[in-house]
Symmetry: C2
Subunit: 308 residues, 2 copies
């Protein structure tokens, strides 16, 4: 799956991933009204509004991008109907041949991580049958519990040709509270980065490992260090755009081959029509605004990479 | 909600929580057969088998215990039908007036943690309405992202009278890989413990905070230190029984008031009928075996507490 991701990044010339993290406040009124007319102001109504919103964005952008990253929390908050739309979104993106990175940030003791792994990227056995319940291509994993909590995901990756991205240095302002603490002269995130490199050696693709890392765009100096520390690790980079990460800083996350990183933007793409820059797009044209935002993001990153 | 939990622990004289972490291999054949006859060997069939299994255990134990802790991964692996049974289990336990601790170990950047918080312990707004999608009383939270990732849960706790347990030192063998690393002379788990104490001061109940901690039974010396470090923090203790934690070691997790800790057992209770000690129970009597295991666990812990 890491090979497929790299291949698609090369074909689209777009090292970017669209974060499908819908909030109801992003959904244009006409879509909300339609959904609420059919289902009322209910969990089902909210889920339907989000589904229609997602579908519009996917249809308008899938030919430009290699991958999407739905954030499950945004669906989980709407309970079962929301999670059903998470699954519907995953399935639809896969029909469009997009690589799907489930941003689930799970991680637990061994047997529990194994359950998350089979549920999201593997197959669960039921009697003589087996089923892929959510069927993402990659998921994000929280490393706080150590190897026990990560290895079951790697086992499933091996079986089902899937991948993971392990949180190393997250993009949020307080990520340093624990992640930057110094241990034997180096920060915890470097220690986690070293572990990710080790875990990655357990399951290599052609040039990159099936075990990737999450490193926030908002900490470019740390990104530079981590890039060198984990040469065969694909880095998933959240925090570009709305969270403050700039393209010129992102060049440090890439290797000399022009690969090794994939930059996520969520709000900046999916809610583009609500931004000044895209004010010419009416709410009914929200998907066109998202397409334009993808094109602009791609140009921004490629131009920064060319200046490297 | 922390006051309710303490009150129920005192009334039942049982500082224990039953982990509703069903695996299909725990479910007696007759329940699986019934479910598969109705729904086939499908996700729905597996979910139904687990629901019937849970219901039997809840009916047989609810009068003895203050709380249950369903592990969402065990449901999530069966996709939407599994998660629907997670919700059904939460609802049923609340009908029985049990305190429900959703073992979800979520944690993300601020806006995403907020979505998890409203979805699991709060209410999500949809137009003019609001809904409690999962409606647990407490959830477990992963601290790796720092205060940003925890505060949205605390905000929702304040609004909706709910609580959280933050992972401090987990029960699994490799938990020390990161959690035991020494920072300025003390391990990371102590630093996290100090933060939990600080976060806890933001929202106090009568004697204990709405912000609790998870500290594994398998590390009693660390439990002793953390108990002193977080005097007003309720400690949720996984790892008793099947994972190797012993009652005599658990006394260190309690305060002098006999409170301050609640011990979880999952497999030891819910799959008791599969164990040698309860071999006299037939599979059809699995729930009676669970009841006996609760009584034995309660006696074991109380006797250790009395010897303190």
């Amino acid at each position: 799956m890491i090979n497929k991701l790299v291949d698609k990044i090369q074909k689209t010339e777009a090292p970017i991933v669209v974060g499908l993290d819908p909030m109801l406040s992003y959904v244009p009124e006409h879509l909300k009204n339609n959904a609420f007319e059919e289902y009322g102001e209910t969990l089902e109504g909210a889920a339907e509004a989000i589904w229609q919103f997602n579908k519009g964005i996917i249809d308008a952008t899938y030919d430009l991008i290699p991958a999407v990253k739905p954030q499950i929390a945004m669906y989980e908050q709407f309970g079962i109907p929301g999670l059903a739309v998470f699954k519907k979104t995953v399935d639809y993106c896969k029909e469009k041949d997009l690589v799907v990175i489930g941003d689930i940030k799970r991680g637990d003791i061994g047997s529990t991580s194994a359950a998350y792994a089979v549920g999201h990227i593997g197959k669960v056995s039921i009697g003589s049958k087996s089923y892929a319940a959510f069927n993402e291509d990659f998921v994000t994993v929280n490393p706080y519990l150590g190897s026990d909590g990560v290895n079951p995901f790697i086992d499933v990756c091996k079986e089902d040709n899937k991948g993971i991205f392990v949180l190393v240095k997250t993009s949020n302002p307080s990520s340093g509270e624990f992640q930057d603490q110094i241990i034997d002269g180096k920060p915890l995130y470097e220690l986690v980065g070293e572990k990710v490199r080790e875990w990655g050696e357990l399951h290599m693709g052609d040039a990159y490992s099936y075990v990737g890392a999450v490193v926030g765009a908002t900490y470019p100096e740390m990104g530079k260090v981590l890039r060198k520390l984990m040469p065969n690790t694909y880095i998933l980079v959240p925090g570009y755009g709305a969270q403050g990460g700039l393209a010129k800083d992102l060049v440090h996350y890439f290797n000399k081959d022009g690969l090794g990183a994939i930059i996520n933007s969520s709000r900046g793409i999916i809610a583009a029509y609500q931004q000044k820059q895209y004010a010419k797009f009416e709410p009914a044209e929200y998907a066109d605004a998202s397409r334009q935002a993808v094109l602009d993001m791609k140009a921004d990153i490629l131009s920064a990479l060319n200046c490297k």
